[in-house]
Symmetry: C2
Subunit: 260 residues, 2 copies
């Protein structure tokens, strides 16, 4: 049996019990991708496949009551950690053949929050007892591990300006080929307001670093304008430029499956 | 004509072009409140009123195609600033009689984002040329106005841990009675995991500070459990305890309108 993973939507990182860091990604492209895989497999007369659809709580979901979606299993996730856990479980259970990572995974998770004044006091106190040569380390250490942090299991309330420390998250895409060298991996690079050359250059770097077999480079400007343009790249070669999520999804699925 | 303002949902503050700080508030209570006002006015045989419904982009909206909603005008908002602008315009245009502020307005807006290492370097540099007596001020100033901030009109990307500085927003509820001394103002206080005594005490303080005519105190714990309990308070006196958004809305509207 063939196993696909499609990730979609934007992750949600908790700041406290009511505040979250979210991402504007709607998950619409993910649904197009699942639909195009189903269409492709149907035309090829194949029934023996499963799409594991990992989708965030804020994204739109495929309609599983639609019988075309018989091949789709839904996994709802929230933050980056829950995405990673779900992926690990799926790789443990199945041999994953194709992975389309269209989800907007947060680069950062909220680590702690502290009133600005208290943080300034802690840095001052720390430096008063630190040799000048160690100041940089001492400041960094205090920024990373201050004492007077707010209790995030409550609802943070304060009349002061605040500092929110963000910790970088695990780059999920960098782990996937390690799990299965034979995996066909499709990556995405989203930038804003850059030249096409810079977009392609950045996408190529990311593709190389993470061993992506296909890479879709897109600019937020076109998404905001409602026309979503994408450049599909393979081994640093531009395969084509597409307009609209449907055409982008069709091109990705075709390029992914045509040489099977 | 009577003019009501009902605010609902949770505000959305931009971190950059794709990342937002959101709030879990669904806006469901706001819809119950609008419906209960309509019911009350209908039973009183009154037709000459308008509900100005200010609702955030992430919240559910009342169904305006429903003819019961003829008296409702919708104003969609995003961040705290847009809420304030909308309220100012409405107070300029109409004499507002009743204001139910059920919206979860962010206490903070994202001011700037900077890699943690760069911030540490800036603080170190600043202190090297600052007298010890002025360290606290110098640190605070650098935390508030660092130089190496990221361009928020793009999509922020970094391999370093980051610092996000949050600036406190205008407390909208504190401005309302200044705009119209005769206004009937309903405020809300949400806490998590506190004793009923502390919840009531905090709600009373807030009611006094902002001259609220009614105050609904609630604990997030009950909302998360799906039973939403609320304590309705007037002049520091508990009028009643209610379970479920429908009953809370009914009690607020009754207490607000019964002495007209």
């Amino acid at each position: 049996m063939l196993h696909f993973i499609v990730t979609a939507g934007g992750t949600v990182e908790d700041i406290d019990e009511v505040r979250k860091i979210t991402n504007t990604s709607t998950g619409q492209l993910g649904i197009c991708l699942a639909e195009e895989i189903i269409k492709y497999m149907e035309q090829a007369g194949e029934q023996d496949y499963q799409i594991h659809y990992i989708v965030t709580s804020t994204a739109i979901k495929p309609d599983l009551f639609n019988e075309e979606m018989d091949h789709v299993t839904l996994y709802e996730v929230t933050d980056t950690k829950s995405v990673l856990n779900t992926i690990n479980e799926l790789f443990d259970r199945y041999t994953i053949d194709y992975f389309i990572h269209s989800m907007a995974v947060s680069d950062f998770t909220a680590n702690h929050m502290i009133p600005m004044k208290k943080l300034a006091e802690e840095i001052k106190l720390k430096l008063e007892s630190t040799d000048k040569e160690q100041w940089l380390e001492a400041i960094e250490h205090t920024l990373k591990n201050p004492k007077a942090i707010m209790d995030r299991s409550r609802k943070i309330s304060s009349d002061d300006d605040m500092i929110l420390a963000l910790k970088k998250t695990t780059k999920i895409i960098s782990l996937l080929k390690e799990k299965n060298k034979e995996l066909f991996l499709v990556g995405f690079k989203l930038l804003k307001n850059v030249s096409e050359e810079e977009l392609i250059r950045t996408a190529n770097l990311l593709a190389e670093k993470n061993e992506c077999d296909l890479m879709l480079a897109n600019d937020l400007e076109s998404i905001n304008q409602g026309i979503h343009q994408g450049i599909l790249i393979k081994n640093k070669e531009v395969l084509g430029k597409y307009e609209g999520k449907r055409n982008i999804a069709k091109a990705i699925v075709y390029q992914m499956l045509k040489n099977r």
